[in-house]
């Protein structure tokens, strides 16, 4: 046991000198690339990298949440600026964070801190078409897939990671996949999506 811990420590000590790797996860829905999939990597053995959660912003523009899908580390402070001339009333009933915020045009409101991992679904009490998703993850290693379906997670120390993929229309969660990252790595992830409403 002591030997294993020592070995793991050694791997990460070496990694610290060797430089960090980039993991690219190519997300597709079988036939085409999937945009806005959230991908996160949790190191299997090492203690979680202590990196403070970066704040982020989910704005309201033309009665739409921008961005519609976000990912943040546990502890992140998220602000909800209202860039519309009209009011909004943002809420979440998700177990990871229940809250509601009345947002008036040009009136800043204190950010909301998300201290539990999970998917938070956001809505607006006034405009029922407005919806956004915030995935709160317990790791600083995360990314969102671009228009080509590529989610790039940079700065990974070599080692084994549990990789998870989520999308608002995910039909069935296959669960995380363990991947060994030695150097820059590309991984393909095929997910099944429900039809858009």
């Amino acid at each position: 046991m002591i030997g294993r811990v020592a070995a793991a420590a050694l791997v990460f000590a070496v990694a610290g000198h060797a430089g960090a790797a980039t993991l690219v996860v190519q997300v597709d829905g079988g036939s085409s690339a999937v945009v806005d999939a959230v991908v996160w990597a949790v190191p299997l053995l090492a203690a979680k990298t202590a990196r403070p959660a970066a704040p982020l912003e989910i704005a309201q523009v033309d009665k739409t949440f921008v961005p519609g899908v976000s990912v943040a580390q546990v502890g992140a402070a998220v602000s909800f600026p209202n860039r519309d001339p009209i009011r909004h009333h943002v809420y979440s009933f998700s177990p990871a964070r229940v809250f509601d915020l009345k947002l008036y045009s040009g009136v800043p409101v204190s950010p909301v801190t998300f201290d539990k991992a999970g998917v938070v679904v956001l809505g607006c009490n006034i405009h029922d078409r407005m919806v956004a998703y915030l995935v709160v993850v317990d790791t600083p290693h995360f990314a969102k897939s671009d228009e080509n379906g590529n989610a790039r997670i940079e700065g990974l120390a070599p080692g084994e990671y549990r990789i998870s993929v989520w999308h608002p229309r995910l039909a069935a969660d296959a669960g995380p996949k363990v991947v060994a990252v030695a150097g820059d790595t590309t991984l393909r992830s095929t997910i099944e999506l429900k039809k858009p409403n």
Binding site: P85, I86, R87, Y104, S105, N125, I126, H127
Partner: protein, 144 residues
Amino acid sequence: MEPSRWCAPLLLMLCLVCPAAIAAPAAESLWHRLGGDPVMTRVAASTLTQVSRDPALNRSFDGVDLPKLTAKLVEHLCSVTGGGCVYTGDSMKTAHGGLDIRQREFYGMVEALRVALDANGVAEGEKNELLRVLAPMKRDVVSK
């Protein structure tokens, strides 16, 4: 005690009691005379359905959650007509802020309300009484 000695306090007491006794029964409130919750929920829903479908009026209702707005409108109407509800929504000024409501849109909604009140059998007197209560809100709703 001489009659004149206790007559004044008695009269005073009656005067204090009388207005309270008249105002007390909820049955006399405008809200009740309008038909209360069942009628006014139909009136509010029908008014909002009408304005949200009218191309000349629906601009400010685009994307709006109508069932939630209907519930708030009923609560508001009930609170301003003596129905005893506590209105939990924003002030008229705040609720309409940034929507840039024009006068013709305001009167368009008033007309839709009139039609809905008629369709739901609200009497002329009560209808006018309600419109008189609502009229001063125009200054908070319409953009100058």
